[in-house]
Structures are given as C-alpha cells and as structure tokens.
Amino acid sequence: MASIELVCPAGSPAMLRAAIEAGADSVYCGLRDETNARNFPGLNFSPQELKDAADWAHGRGAKVLVAINTFARVGAVDIWRASVDAAARAGADAVIVADLGILAYARDAHPDLRLHLSVQAAAGSVDSIDYYAKTYGVRRVVLPRVLSAPEIAALNRQISVETEAFVFGGLCVMAEGRCALSSYATGRSPNLSGVCSPPEAVAFEDHQGQLTSRLAGFTLDRFEAGEAAGYPTLCKGRFQAGGEASYLFEEPTSLNAMELLADLAKAGVTAVKIEGRQRGKAYVARVAAAFRAALDALDRGESTQPYERLLSSLAEGGRETAGAYRKTWR
C-alpha cells in the first residue's frame, strides 16, 4: 500500500514553512481575496508570496495546492480566472476548485495544471465524481465530511480518481457548499463570500463570568464561568427545539480521525487533510508533526494509538469526534 499524503493548511508563508518543516507532504493555501474559502482578514498569500512559497516548498520536495474554491461572483468571474492564472504562474502543483465555470476555465486555459475538486462542490457520490472527472478532467476529489469509512471504501472501488479525506480540525456538519445558514443570519456565507459565521458579525458579552456569544444578534450559546467556549459557528450553537435546549446540529467539537487512519488507508484514500488555514503556525506545527508520526507508524505496520491523544488541547470546546467516519454520528 502506498504511503498516504499528508496535506496541511497554510494561511501565511510562515505557516507554510512551519507545516512543511513539521512533516507535511503538501500544503494548501489561497490568494488574499474572495476566491478562497478562508477569506479572513490578515490571512493568505499575495501572488508573489505564493510564487516564493512554491519555490521554497519545491526545494524541499513538498507540493503546493492552491484553493480557488469559492463560487465566482456574478459579473466578476475574471477575478477567479486570474487566480487560476496566478496559481499556474506560481508553479502550483494543483488548484482546488468548486465552481463549474472555473473548472471549465482551468481545464481549457491550463490543460497541464492538475485539478482537484474542492469539498465545497459536495461531490460524495460515484455519479457526481464521475461527472466532474469526465467533464473537467478532475484528478482528485476532496470528500465531503458526511461519508463513513466503509462508504469511502465503496466509493473508491467505483471511481477512477484520487480521494482526499479530512482527518483533523473544524467539522462541518452540513454538506459543504450546500449551506446558507451563515448568510441567512449575516448576509455572508462560504458560497457567497468565502467565510462562515464571519467575525465582524460576532459579539461576545461577558456578564459576571457568564459568556454569551451572538452572531448578527442571534444568541448562539451561553457559557458559565470556567466552561469551555467555542467560536460562535452557527451550526455549533445551542438552540431550543421542541422545548429542549441542546446542541441540535453539532456539539462544539472538532474532528480527529487519527484512530481511523488505518481504515482510511484500507479504504483507498490517497491523501488526508488537516483543516485550519486560519489557525496559525503553532497549530499546524503540532498537528502536522503528530500526523506525520502516525502515518510513519502506519507505514511501518505499527499502531497509530500512541499519537492519538496528542492533539486534544487544540480541539474546540476541548472535545473531539471521529465525525461521520463512524456511522453512528448520524
């Protein structure tokens, strides 16, 4: 069995270097504009930084994947096309794309540039993956975080392209690219603007140690003093339905599927992916090192168990889940 590729996030050149030095095989990053799905203030790369970073990474045998994974704004599609051009010029090893129009552009304008299908395209079935592969020449699909490990195995038996699976970090409970909760509350969303639950709509109110988080005026959660808090991501809020308050959609947990690396390897995934371009170099250095050690152990035929609890202090609300990879999650 071939080694699994470790794909790590880079929100800045410093974070890219930290990820590769800690053992990432590939990093993914975006340009500093609305063409990528982590369009946060202060984050991401200028075209020149991207070029320098790609040169640096290639010098160390690592790959750079450029996320151009938002849906192009109507009438402004040229900005997205220019991002594809910039990635090609920088020597990117692949672009990660979701929009049908941008996939077509990359296919036609840069036939030698490798195309990966972003998770934002929500392609989780044999038929949709086949369609993207045949129509646009997509070579790898980043799988939605709603599939279980056996489902991924079944999928890989029936498709001809590589698959990449998220194994650590933030956990979308909705099908990515099919969720407008954020724009319903705030006017901005992953599909419209490359952000979810945008920070400018977030407010915290600390009242005698009790912390209330709000998004565009909607109360998302309330924490007693000392209780672990989470960034107020809409789907991880505490809500009332049928008279009962609960984390209806998802607890403020994050994904850690390290214990399932062996299963994912058996399921035939080519690459595993760490979420969190917005989380900085301290985060990526720790996560990349832990997953590097686990994947190396896997390659030696050893258990990943010794590395599985290394990362829990990084988790949202201090809690982790193996997510949809275990079918009971549903």
């Binding site: 109507v74 949709s128 099908a175 099919r178 407008a180 909760l181 319903y184 509350a185 599909n191 909607f218």
Partner: protein
C-alpha cells in the same frame, strides 16, 4: 405585452401523509393561477416510497388539468437506492429538475432540465456550463440577490429564471438527520418522526427567538420568504416565474395573493398583509433578494 409571470409550486419539502398530499395537489389542480408543479422527494430518499403512489396520482391529475409537471431529483443522493432513483429520473428525456450534479451523469446529452435552487450556480460561467448540457431554466439559489440574478441572466439570453418567492428558505443539507437526533433516534431507524412537523420543527435561540427550522436532513429558515419587489424589477432581472413552496397554511390564499401581485392587481406593499393572513409558519423575510441577510424583513412603503 409580455406573458404573465408564471406561478410554480415547488417540490413538497415536508413529510406529509399520502392523504394530505392527495388533497393538496387536488386543490392545486383546480387552481387556474398555477402554471407548473414540481413533484418528487427532494430532501430524504427514505421518504420516497411512502409517497410514490400519491405523487404519481397527483401527476396524472395535474397534467389532466393542464399544468406542466416536472419531476425533481433528490438534493443529496447518498445510498445506492437514492442513486438508482436519481439515475432513472435523469435517464428519462422529459423535462426534469436537477438538484444535484450527479443527475447529469445519467442525463442524455441535450435533454432539457431545470437547474434547481439547491445547485451551486452563482454566476454566468457556471450557468453557461449547464446551458451547454441542456439547462433551459434556472431556479436561482436562494442566496442570490435580485441584482445578482439580473447580472447572471444578461449574458444568458433565453434562459428562463425562476426565483424562490414564498416559503421557509431551504438553507442547508446534512448527512445527519436532525429530526431523528432531536428525538434521540438514529437516522437508520428514524421512525419517520419528521411527519410530526408539517412545516418543519422550529428552532429557537436560547433567548426564545425563532431562527431556523429542521426538516429531517434539511435545515430551513424559520422566517418565511416573501419576494415583494416591484414586478417591473423582477421582469427587468429576467425573472419569468415565481416559485411557491408548499406549506400547511392556506396555500390557496398564498397563490391568490401572488397571482394578484404578479398581475399588478395587488400592490407589492400589500402582498405581506395578504400572506400574513394565510397563517405562515414564521415571520416574513425578504433580505436575500435585496442583497442582505436572508433573515431581514424590510416593509415596502
């Protein structure tokens, strides 16, 4: 004079009983204000078999009454059974509505289809890709403002445009069933508890403010969209049809209200009052068409 703005009835998103479904479409068949009806289970493949018979009978009835009937595909086909249903529907060259790209894998080249609001078509380039494959009508994604719709239609001549004009907004889909989760059940043994909430289960914030609604694997808005832009604005943006999403309130009155509004008989400013009188499941919202947050409501003056 341009033809009247079409009124269409979107696919029923909720798990209603076969009796309720039959009665609902019987009423729609008799209503001359409606031009087109979308049928089929879009949200959850498990519900499909429950309603197959009632929907087939409804299709016959609606067609006999002169309505255009368009079958809609599942939004998130996952199981092999979902895929089979989608593939069978897509292979039929008759007009269908596609709600997931997977249907295109089985669509005969050039066979006409409607791109549903659950597809990610946000710009003219993406629309162009679908038009090349046979797309004749686009029901705009609910996040798109009317300005964005106008910018999309300008370079796509001949593309019919439908907008989501009435109903709780379909906001998200998940692999997880929130109705089952809310009742402490697993999705695979859900007991179809979603049938208890004919408009979805209202989700409130901790402060008791209505916010969202869950409907099986789907999350909707609590607010009820009412597009009330001046009709001339809609036409200028290329809009040719208004989609009304089925709810348990007085749909005959909803249809009558929108028909009068679309025909210029009811002023946009009076549409809200007409809709409020139909017992909608939440407060009215109209933020998305104005380019704002979907949950906002701005009254027409």
């Amino acid at each position: 004079m341009s033809p009247r703005l079409e009124l269409t009835i979107g696919p029923l998103l909720f798990n209603w009983s076969p009796e309720r479904v039959a009665a609902f479409y019987g009423q729609i068949a008799r209503d001359p204000a409606v031009d087109r009806v979308y049928l089929g289970e879009v949200v959850c493949g498990k519900r499909g078999p429950l309603l197959a018979h009632a929907l087939a009978e409804a299709a016959d009835l609606l067609q006999a009454a002169g309505k255009t009937v368009v079958w809609s595909t599942l939004a998130l086909p996952a199981l092999p059974r979902d895929r089979q249903v989608t593939a069978a529907l897509a292979a039929d060259p008759a007009l269908i509505e596609i709600n997931d790209i997977s249907a295109l894998a089985h669509r005969p080249p050039g066979a006409p289809f409607v791109a549903g609001p659950l597809l990610n078509v946000y710009n003219e380039a993406a629309a162009g890709e679908l038009i090349a494959r046979g797309c004749v009508r686009l029901c705009a994604n609910v996040e798109m403002s009317l300005t964005a719709v106008a910018a999309l239609t300008a370079p796509c001549p001949g593309l019919e445009i439908e907008i989501f004009a009435f109903g709780r907004l379909p906001l998200a889909l998940s692999g997880r069933c929130y109705h089952a989760r809310g009742h402490g059940l697993h999705k695979d043994n859900c007991q179809f508890v979603c049938d208890r909430d004919p408009d979805g289960l209202t989700v409130e914030t901790l402060d008791g403010v209505g916010f969202l609604a869950v409907n099986g694997v789907q999350t909707l808005s609590h607010g009820v969209q009412v597009v009330d832009n001046p009709v001339a604005e809609l036409r200028a943006a290329g809009v040719t049809a208004l989609r009304l999403s089925p709810h348990s309130g007085d749909m005959a009155k909803v249809i009558a209200g929108f028909r009068a509004y679309a025909d210029g008989v009811l002023a946009p400013a009076d549409l809200a009052a007409a809709i409020r009188a139909t017992d909608p499941p939440g407060p009215l919202v109209n933020g998305y068409p104005r380019g704002g947050a979907g949950a906002q409501w701005t009254a027409r003056s």
